[in-house]
């Protein structure tokens, strides 16, 4: 398991955009997502993976473990607790349009979600995973995915409703 096979490397390259979004769902910060993606790739190249491993699942697992071990355990996220919305500006092109305002609200609300809810929601709502697929990626029971996704949507809806009322 010292290195990746040629096929695994190709699969990993194709997986990178999705893995990047997964990193973003974990970190909620684009720069940190890039960093997490970087060390995930490094770890995969360094440690390799079993020949029969599912590259997407394996890489997501490595990524998540790195996030847990190296980031959350050091409580790095607390550094950002007082900062601006981590996803602020992401995807916005014009500052004063209704759409961009809504995107800003959503990104801010996303940052306030617990990471596990955010990750589940992104897998399902953004990546289009079924609950079973998301459960496999995140290595939790299907019911947990259902619950996390629903609670994330509920929290987002209430957060955004509150934001809209406050700004009205």
């Amino acid at each position: 398991m010292a290195s990746l096979t040629a096929q695994q490397r190709q699969d990993l390259i194709e997986e990178l955009p999705r893995l990047k979004r997964f990193c973003l769902s974990l970190t909620s910060d684009p720069a940190d997502a890039d960093d997490l993606l970087q060390i995930t790739v490094e770890r995969l190249l360094e440690k390799g993976m079993p020949e029969d491993a599912h590259v997407a699942k394996w890489s997501h697992r490595v990524c998540r473990n790195l996030w847990i071990d190296e980031i959350r355990s050091r409580d790095v996220r607390s550094r950002y607790a007082q900062s601006e919305s981590a996803l602020e500006g992401a995807g916005t092109t014009s500052a004063n349009t209704d759409e961009s305002v809504q995107l800003d609200r959503v990104s801010a609300a996303m940052e306030r979600l617990p990471p596990e809810q955010r990750a589940a929601l992104v897998q399902v709502a953004v990546e289009g995973c079924s609950y079973a697929e998301a459960a496999a990626f995140l290595e939790v029971p299907i019911g947990t995915i259902m619950s996390r996704v629903a609670r994330a949507r509920k929290a987002l809806a209430e957060d955004l409703e509150w934001s809209a009322e406050r700004e009205a």
Partner: protein, 247 residues
């Protein structure tokens, strides 16, 4: 089986109580079975508040997709990094780790650094052998403390000198620049010093000091030495003689 009970927004589902938000979420994700879907659609027709909630969730999902669609760009250097074989990894200077994780292949003759993205032009790339570093390796005696000043704000210390199994002379060294420290090994090959492995040693961020020594990286260097060294490190006199003789 879906069964409404006396609480309007709660149903039983496989032994789990699920409120309307769970139902709507499952409906959006096409995870409701046909019976529950029909029941929910029937309710949506007659319940404006429930319909509004569904519309809000779907709108949020749409916004979420837009947000993340803008974040699919992968750093350009990663794909070549994955494609390349037998290379050492030289990541860009990252914000939260600022560390370098290098995979040194045991017994490799030389490690090629892939430097695809260094956002800050004045940031030292530890895998690059420059004249000042080479000169320091060529001439400086190993020591247990103290630093020799190089350019770009770098501080250098040779730690030890040892013979490699392939006959080359190698030196373990420390480099420090700002808050970043690296430990590495360079070997002398046909009169030229080449870095073999470099790993982040310590990074302390001023604000949080959350990042202790990178043990993995140090282990890489130690492992490299263990697998490459043909003998114990030279003593001070032996090393001085070797330096004075021009290696």
């Amino acid at each position: 089986m879906c069964m409404s009970d006396d609480r309007q927004n709660v149903v039983d589902m496989a032994g789990t109580r699920v409120d309307d938000d769970h139902l709507l979420s499952m409906y959006i994700d096409n995870e409701l079975d046909a019976e529950r879907t029909i029941a929910l659609i029937t309710r949506l027709r007659s319940d404006p508040a429930l319909r509004a909630r569904l519309n809000a969730m779907e709108a949020n999902d749409s916004a979420l997709k837009t947000l993340f669609a803008a974040q699919t760009d992968v750093p350009e250097h990663l794909a070549p990094l994955v494609t390349a074989d037998n290379i050492s990894i030289m990541p860009r200077m990252v914000n939260w780790t600022r560390r370098l994780t290098l995979s040194a292949a045991a017994g490799c003759v030389a490690v090629v650094a892939l430097v695809a993205s260094l956002d800050q032009p004045d940031v030292f790339n530890p895998m690059t052998m420059d004249p000042q570093l080479a000169a320091a390796l060529e001439q400086s005696a190993s020591r247990a403390s103290g630093w020799e000043r190089l350019d770009n704000g770098r501080n250098f210390r040779s730690v030890l000198t040892f013979p490699a199994t392939d006959g080359r002379w190698c030196r373990e060294f420390l480099l420090a620049q700002d808050e970043s420290h690296w430990r590495g090994v360079a070997c002398r090959d046909n009169g030229e010093w080449e870095n073999q492995v470099v790993g982040s040693e310590i990074f302390l961020e001023q604000e949080t000091q959350y990042r202790p020594a990178g043990t993995d990286d140090s282990e890489q260097v130690v492992r490299f030495i263990d697998e490459t060294a043909a003998d114990v490190a030279l003593g001070p006199q032996q090393e001085a003689a070797l330096i004075n003789s021009g290696w």
